[in-house]
Symmetry: C2
Subunit: 208 residues, 2 copies
């Protein structure tokens, strides 16, 4: 044999990633993964033993990616407004790489309590750290009188809401690959990116 040397495993992982993200755990059949990967379906069990094993590999990697990135994007020291803008945009641009990611992760967390706990334990430390820093940064700005009092948790949640929902809507509005060639697709994204930054920043400022 061509001694695919890890090739088969990679093919399976790639096909599995694509299908799981698209159809979720229950919607994805192992034989479909095999067919997409171009390998005999027994290979899935040879390399990963069970569907659940294979799924976990994908899920944990994806969840870490999603959450890790969120933390990263807002983890720097703030010269407040510019960094906030950069953080939102960086986060937005990351999501535009893999539009299905947030909905996939959220769905599977909701449908399986174990996964929820797994995720929570993973991000708790980083999450608390970032909240602490952000709280401090906000407090400083409030002192200066540039923004109104805001909880760091609320701010993060607002950003996540706007950014994530943009990509959920994107999938509804432009579901097929052809749709995504359209000009409207680009326009929609640009508009939302700008809107989200403006709303968050304008929303923080104190009115006259």
């Amino acid at each position: 044999m061509e001694q695919k040397a890890g090739n088969t495993e990679r093919l399976i992982l790639e096909a599995a990633e694509k299908l799981f993200m698209e159809k979720g755990y229950n919607g994805t059949k192992t034989m479909d993964i095999a067919k997409n990967a171009g390998v005999n379906h027994a290979m899935i069990h040879y390399y990963f033993r069970t569907k659940e094993n294979l799924f976990s590999r994908i899920f944990e990697q994806k969840a870490a990616q999603l959450l890790g990135f969120f933390v990263e994007a807002f983890n720097e020291d703030y010269p407040f407004f510019e960094k906030l803008k950069t953080g939102i945009e960086t986060h937005f641009d990351f999501l535009s790489q893999t539009p299905e990611l947030p909905l996939f992760v959220l769905n599977e967390i909701i449908k399986d309590k174990n996964r929820r706990n797994y995720i929570f334990n993973k991000i708790r430390p980083a999450g608390e750290e970032i909240l602490k820093r952000m709280t401090k940064a906000i407090a400083e700005e409030v002192c200066k009188g540039t923004i109104r009092p805001t909880k760091a948790g609320d701010l993060l949640m607002n950003i996540a809401s706007l950014n994530v929902f943009a990509f959920v809507a994107l999938q509804v509005l432009f579901s097929s690959d052809e749709d995504r060639q359209q000009e409207g697709y680009i326009k929609f994204l640009e508009e939302r990116r700008k809107n989200n930054v403006e709303l968050i920043i304008n929303g923080l400022k104190i009115k006259n």
Copy 2:
């Protein structure tokens, strides 16, 4: 026989609604529906012929509910800020009745293009009407100098983002029924409700 006279059909629909909303189409098994409804599983095929038929009934009703309500909540004539506040709150309160609704509908739309088209055709007229009215209301306020120029679509999208995402997060944070007895659950909702109104309104206002 007790001749349940339409009772069985109702029992099936109720059980199906609960399970489909919780587990989605693929996660729900017809025998589970039958068991939950307390009827023989052949009844499902007797009344609805196929799983897909039964699902469509539920889905279409739910989608109409979700979208219809959104339209309704923002469909009145605006004395701007108060009505905007009321609209957001009404929408939020509606979602709090059935927290799983938006994610359920979004998921099934994304996973099935036919459903997407069905939905689009259903809401297009109402959607266009509400956009037109809102555009007019916004233009008037902009003239008065009370708010900054904003597209109606962006505004609606912002509201939907914040409100819907609150309930997606809610399901992640408080997944079980016991969780929802907690005090934190109520607090979270109150906080988000207030936050969303404030962010939208403050975000519209012009800053010095």
